[in-house]
Symmetry: C2
């Protein structure tokens, strides 16, 4: 899609290629200078920010659709994605905004159009390395960029709730999903890992306690390498041990009895 | 629905009341004599067991639909339900079984019928007190009953995968969802709570370690009451402290830094 004519075609016939009543919304988190950031798109014609999202093609799985949508918005393949919740209120997208966008292209479009119907949205969160992302708007948006999580604008539909729930899921998954893998460089210091956890949890963590607990999980390999270009005593670098991390994910990592 | 004529009407016109392409499947767990049990329905005409499930009415939220479906199968209101995953493979219900059921009622039904289309299923798990449930089949099933989790029959479509994933979610949620609340009586002993956790995790847990960790969470109130009708030294009874439990759920309970 790139012109009004393409958009018109999508409005009129998009349901032939896509499943009706189903949408995908993604909270894409990046980590930059000890801050969590969120990727947002500015929707055309209504001057409103929203989560990157899209629809499911009839021949693709829901997970494949999410990967495709995010590849289109970020330029990245194989993004770490977690489908964390379904947003299924009966009236969640029943707002004048959708009509305004659709009717701005063709005022004769009737209320039974597939895009004006109820959409049940599959909520995903994604974790990416900001440095690797090229934010790219689609035809339904005029801008795509990173926002600090602490200063988000008002969002379309229930997208603020989706962000809140995504962050809650992210916090709860810290114990048993490979969160750190996807937001840190391959080699990192203990302090960098702790800063990431502190940022996600929104509070400080006792340094000694953190180190003890995280090492006890057995998922980190300490390298025979120290961080360079630092003026103070050079700290050791660590890597995640993917095999042990995977083993831990298969068990009840969170409870630790 | 209760007759072939009702079923026929549902096949032909069900999409008028329900959203197409969307279904709900529920893994209903009960706890009985230190065993986890699962509620299954036997699908008519194909002699196959499946999870209780259904469709979403156009005016109800997805969560309300899940509550309604389970109320119809169990007789219970306000069941503890967690929507834990979406099952969205493109070919997940593209099997001869659906056609067999539908065509057994009307052989002229064409492949574009809404029930023969791709269904994206919202997976829920439910935790119930077995003693309170009255298993009730619907028109699409000829039997509804409890099965031991260790001896399940082969299941329809991807329902075995749904059960496996539900159990995995249940294990991971042990740390930060009110699992115990819904599977135990109001008052319970420390041993009963530990047995529940052992059953869900599928392994034994060190007694002293469990007691120490669970008490440290601060979510249990010890009552000034001991269990009666026991011949050995009577153990104390505990209750969940709902306020503290709720507070814990709002935080990063799982990681505990």
């Amino acid at each position: 899609m790139s012109t009004d004519s393409d958009f018109l075609d999508f409005i009129h016939k998009g349901y032939e290629q896509h499943l009706p009543h189903l949408s995908i919304d993604c909270a894409v988190f990046g980590f930059h200078e000890n801050q969590l950031r969120l990727l947002l798109t500015k929707v055309i014609r209504i001057n409103q920010w929203s989560l990157p999202g899209g629809f499911i093609r009839r021949e693709e799985s829901v997970d494949m659709a999410a990967q495709r949508i995010l590849r289109e918005r970020t330029g990245l393949d194989n993004i770490y994605l977690e489908q964390f919740k379904v947003f299924g209120s009966a009236d969640r997208n029943n707002t004048p905004d959708t009509k305004k966008i659709v009717k701005s292209v063709d005022n004769n479009i009737t209320d039974d159009n597939w895009l004006l119907q109820r959409m049940v949205s599959m909520g995903y969160y994604a974790l990416v390395d900001i440095a690797k992302v090229t934010p790219t708007p689609d035809t339904l948006s005029e801008e795509c960029r990173w926002w600090d999580l602490t200063t988000l604008p008002p969002l379309l539909f229930d997208h603020s709730e989706i962000v809140k729930d995504a962050l809650k899921a992210l916090r709860q998954h810290l114990a048993n999903k490979p969160i750190g893998f996807n937001l840190l460089p391959e080699k990192f210091t203990m302090t960098e890992l702790r800063r990431l956890y502190e940022t996600i949890l929104g509070r400080t963590i006792d340094r000694g306690n953190f180190e003890k607990k995280i090492l006890k999980l057995g998922i980190l390999d300490r390298l025979d390498e120290v961080k360079s270009n630092v003026t103070y005593k050079a700290p050791f670098l660590y890597k995640f041990n993917t095999v042990k991390y995977q083993e831990l994910l298969e068990t009840d990592a969170g409870f630790g009895f």
